[in-house]
């Protein structure tokens, strides 16, 4: 393992987060003696990759082409080894309702939901549809774009009259909205890493904010308290770890993932969404989980790139 290219940036709404994630991972890998360059996804990328001939590419792109599988498709076309989930599984995991459906099929719990495109509201009129949503799912509700991360366009709605506004904010980020029943409970993120023994859950991280865990709370250190490991009983901790690993397997994910769950008052975890390119910034959850497990980030990232090179070369 000598040369790694980290892809960071892109044109998504999460460009800024991706750039920061990319720099952190690159620094950690460099610390282990690997030669790393960070490159944006732009018109010069393919010629750069042709020239650089990296051993492994790590797409640390959040949102849009980075997580929807399309950049991974291109890496496959170029026969380049890369870290993480393949294009098809990325595409499914990135689309929140599809991911929820898959994990539901695997016997996992996920809050009840509907998926509604903007065009439907146009055809049927907004209010009757929203009334039906509230009638069926009740309140509070979470409205979010079906694709995207960092809580962009996400609103927690307590009152029916606030729902139209939440829909407008959501549709500013994408054409399809996921509306799900908000489960009251403890917010938990469980990172999964594949080792020689298969996927393994890192200690769960518990998120406590003074409001919703929105963009502001995620990227302004201080507003949020993290508990790593989460303050869960051993039984519940085992349950959330199991859920994250099963979601990882059911969705056909590779190398690493992060599932966001909520644990209700009875200690039952519910799957919310999964990230195939979890954030790696200074305030991100994946690195916190790794450190809570006593793992050195450089060593862990090195193990991930080494393994993905070996695996994918073997299957080619």
């Amino acid at each position: 393992m000598e040369r790694v290219v980290v892809l960071a940036g892109g044109l998504s709404h999460e460009r800024d987060v991706s750039l920061r994630s990319g720099r952190r991972v690159a620094d950690a890998l460099r610390g282990t003696g690997i030669e790393v360059s960070v490159h944006d996804v732009d018109a010069s990328l393919l010629s750069f990759l042709a020239q650089e001939t990296p051993d492994v590419v790590w797409p640390l792109l959040h949102g849009a082409s980075g997580e929807d599988g399309s950049v991974r498709d291109v890496l496959e076309l170029l026969s380049l080894d890369y870290v993480g989930t393949g294009p098809r599984a990325s595409r499914a995991a990135w689309n929140k309702p599809i991911a929820k459906n898959v994990v539901l099929g695997a016997g996992l719990s996920t809050p009840d939901y509907v998926t509604l495109p903007q065009s439907l509201f146009r055809e049927l009129g907004a209010q009757p549809v929203l009334d039906a949503v509230v009638g069926r799912l009740g309140l509070p509700l979470v409205v979010k774009p079906t694709r995207g991360g960092s809580a962009l366009g996400v609103t927690l709605v307590h009152r029916a009259e606030d729902l139209p506004r939440a829909m407008v904010d959501c549709f500013s980020y994408g054409d399809i909205a996921l509306i799900e029943r908000a489960v009251e409970g403890t917010e938990i993120a469980v990172s999964v890493v594949e080792g020689p023994e298969g996927p393994e859950a890192l200690p769960a991280v518990e998120i406590v904010t003074d409001g919703t865990y929105d963009y502001d709370a995620r990227y302004n250190p201080g507003r949020t308290s993290y508990y790593a490991p989460a303050r869960l009983s051993p039984q519940v901790a085992a349950r959330v770890a199991d859920m994250a690993v099963r979601a990882h397997l059911a969705l056909g994910l590779r190398d690493l993932s992060r599932s966001d769950l909520i644990v209700d008052a009875e200690g039952n975890p519910h799957f919310l969404e999964v990230n195939v390119a979890p954030g790696m910034t200074e305030t991100s959850l994946f690195p916190q989980a790794a450190q809570a497990a006593g793992r050195d980030l450089g060593d862990l990232y090195r193990a991930i790139v080494t393994q993905s090179a070996v695996r994918q070369s073997a299957t080619r």
Binding site: R15, D16, D40, V168, S172, Y215, D216, P221, G222
Partner: protein
């Protein structure tokens, strides 16, 4: 990260880790300084695929870079030990002498001693606020006002009160009424902040008739005027208007800058101030930065000495006029449902969105459509302004401006449909009503 030791400054979080152990230690004035969703969205604005109508960056390709390179090389070769050394807190004397010539173009008659050189006029704003404002003091500012000034005022915990402007600039009657009301309320108004020429963001210019009236009102109420004038020489028609400072040398602090007429990379601005104020500004500046960059100052002095800077400004005026025309033409063609002013200089058009649209709520859609703008809320201290956007025409070529406006019109029309569908605009998140600071390249 999670292994960060607990520090006394860290509030008890019953075993949890705050990733910033100093969270409880920040001064109150730092509380508004945070990463925001809007700021993050601007991360894509620098990508070439995105037409940025957001930034206030001058078009530096218009500069004779080879000539400047020669002059800079000569400067370091012949005066390197001075240029790379500490300098005077007040600023290099040879540069101050040349600034006297620059401000004379706007009718200001001053002495080099009246001038304090600063690290961009942004530092001048900081120094002026620092020496005059105690927490809770009132600064009266136009509605809207330059986002960078609002950020400085807020960081000194000033209370910002807006006064409306119209197509002729700040409205004297409204100013008088506001100052009267504030006096009756027992509030202490210390400063009036105004951008009289080619206003950022409103694009308007304070009329010649209004200038003495504004000064008279300020004087009557004992309020010092900050005349922030980075764009004064970039007018498209006729000669520059007389600066307010040219009408009153005691009641006005004049802020000038080379950032828009030459190059912002040098970070050189200046203040023309009455004697006593200037002394305090120098002391404040020395305590903040010791002295402005000698290398930058001498580079600019060399430029002014060896290059046809007035000819360059004339070229810039032509270039920006063409871009203004492209912007206005494209708005007329693609966005008839909005309204805007036609600026006679400077960098910005201030666009009133069709009723019911929220400029912040539209921003993610604009990013998807590969066009960037600054939501009007950035230019108000009170959370209003969501019905406006600032579009700048200084940086993109006319062709890109037309393309950007075409994309922007598509965003507006999609948002229109959405708002009509749901009967409301979005983005009423109270977090988004704070002053947003979109970063240096959007200043």
């Amino acid at each position: 990260m999670s292994t960060t030791p607990t520090h006394p400054a860290q509030p008890a979080a019953s075993g949890g880790t705050r990733l910033d152990p100093w969270f409880g230690a920040y001064a109150e004035r730092a509380h508004g300084m945070r990463a925001s969703e809007i700021r993050a969205l601007f991360a894509v604005a620098n990508r070439p695929e995105v037409v940025s109508l957001a930034g206030g960056m001058p078009y530096l390709e218009g500069l004779p870079l080879d000539v400047i390179a020669d002059a800079m090389q000569k400067l370091v070769a012949t005066r390197g030990t001075t240029a790379l050394q500490y300098g005077s807190g007040q600023g290099d004397e040879s540069l101050r002498e040349k600034i006297v010539d620059v401000v004379r173009l706007e009718g200001i008659d001053c002495h080099p001693d009246d001038i304090v050189v600063t690290t961009g006029s942004q530092q001048a704003l900081d120094l002026v606020t620092r020496i005059f404002i105690d927490p809770g003091d009132v600064i009266v500012a136009e509605a809207p006002s330059y986002v960078g000034a609002l950020g400085v005022f807020r960081s000194y915990q000033a209370d910002i009160v807006h006064v409306p402007l119209d197509e002729h600039g700040l409205i004297p009657e409204a100013l008088e009424e506001t100052l009267t009301r504030l006096a009756a309320e027992g509030r202490r108004v210390k400063l009036l902040y105004t951008v009289p020429n080619f206003h950022n963001p409103a694009g308007v210019t304070l009329s010649v008739e209004r200038r003495p009236r504004i000064l008279e009102i300020a004087q009557r109420f004992g309020v010092l005027v900050i005349e922030d004038n980075p764009y004064g020489l970039l007018g498209f028609d006729g000669d520059p208007l007389p600066a307010m400072r040219s009408l009153d040398d005691q009641g006005v602090l004049y802020l000038g800058s080379f950032s828009k007429t030459f190059a912002p990379g040098y970070r050189v601005g200046w203040v023309v101030a009455p004697h006593a104020v200037r002394e305090k500004l120098v002391l404040a500046s020395e305590s903040a930065i010791l002295c402005p960059s000698n290398a930058s100052q001498l580079a600019i002095a060399t430029y002014l000495e060896t290059c046809d800077w007035q000819g360059q400004i004339k070229q810039f005026r032509e270039l920006y006029r063409e871009r203004r025309d492209a912007m206005i033409g494209a708005l007329s063609e693609h966005l008839p449902s909005a309204s805007w002013n036609v600026p006679n200089g400077g960098f910005y058009t201030w666009v009133k969105l069709p009723d019911g649209l929220d400029a912040r709520s539209m921003l993610p859609r604009a990013v998807t459509a590969r066009v960037a703008y600054v939501p009007g809320t950035a230019f108000y201290a009170d959370g209003t302004g969501a019905d406006h956007v600032r579009l700048s025409y200084c940086f993109p070529t006319p062709e890109r401006i037309r393309e950007g406006v075409r994309r922007f019109a598509g965003v507006v029309s999609a948002e229109r449909e959405l708002v009509d569908l749901f009967g409301t605009s979005g983005a009423q998140d109270p977090d988004l009503t704070d002053v947003e600071n979109p970063g240096p390249n959007l200043a």
